[in-house]
Symmetry: C2
Subunit: 145 residues, 2 copies
DNA sequence: CTTGACCTTCCCATGATGGGAAGCCCTATC
DNA sequence: GATAGGGCTTCCCATCATGGGAAGGTCAAG
């Protein structure tokens, strides 16, 4: 199986297959007489494993560990679960962060007319810093610490 | 004001200030006789603007546009709102994607004992592909297409 | 004058991915 | 058997925002 066929069969681009080989995520593929890489079904399975891992957001490094756990049939599931759970926490943390950004920005956009007038709270917020968390609207002691 | 002082005053690292100058996000800072960069209050304000923009997840390119809109007091708020709204959509899309990953992974982890036994649905899922959306548990026709 | 903290530029690395060039190989068609 | 087109090889470069570090100039305090 050529690299192109392996790519189509696994959904991993040929470029990335070479890259994964280069960084040691997969073992160097066999070569034909003419120096073409040659892939077995098993290699393709590994590539699919990698592909699914990536689509779940695992880093290549995490996948390295998962792959070796997968190959070692005596490994304790504890280790796998630990990697997965750490990754879930990580995802959730980043989600929360982005959610906060989106919320802030959506609120600012809400207050922006979006017409021909130049006035826009989005820019004033960027320029002046996050509005001090909604004190009473009538709060006139605008002292900025 | 030195670059170090500007960095402390703005929260942007000296390294990044040089980088922003290099890519043209900010204008080249004035120089002292000894070739040190010299920053004004106004420069620091720009840096703060950038910093806040970054913390809301805007790319440097988006910030370039926002900064020039900010400097142009005749700009229509429409343009600003458009940038912000596009960014919010972008954030939401990425959030949804990561949320799906986290959910999938959390569900798999749920099914993993996390003890000394090797059995773990996380790995089998990675190896075999996403489980076909929950057919009856008793469904025994394990044919894999 | 020395010391230490600061500044300058320049190069390199990250992580995962793609683009593209130069050159070899294979297969099908004429 | 020659030729064309597509696939393979390696190598280099770019992305995006950020940091590390080296080599060397500068400044201020002791």
């Amino acid at each position: 199986m050529n690299i192109g066929q392996a790519a189509r069969a696994s959904g991993v681009s040929a470029k990335m297959i070479r890259y994964y080989e280069q960084i040691g995520l997969i073992r160097p593929a066999d070569r034909t007489d003419s120096n073409y890489r040659s892939f077995s079904e098993r290699d393709v399975n590994d590539l699919r494993f990698i592909k699914r891992g990536r689509s779940l957001g695992f880093s290549v490094e995490e996948i390295t560990n998962l792959l070796s756990l997968w190959r070692d049939h005596t490994r304790p599931s504890r280790e796998v679960k630990a990697i997965a759970d750490a990754h879930v926490s990580d995802l959730r943390a980043r989600i929360a962060e982005m959610q906060a950004m989106a919320d802030t920005l959506a609120a600012l956009s809400e207050g922006c007319a979006g017409d021909d007038r130049p006035d826009c709270p989005i820019l004033t917020d960027l320029a002046a810093g996050p509005a001090p968390p909604a004190a009473n609207v009538g709060d006139r002691a605008g002292a900025i610490s």
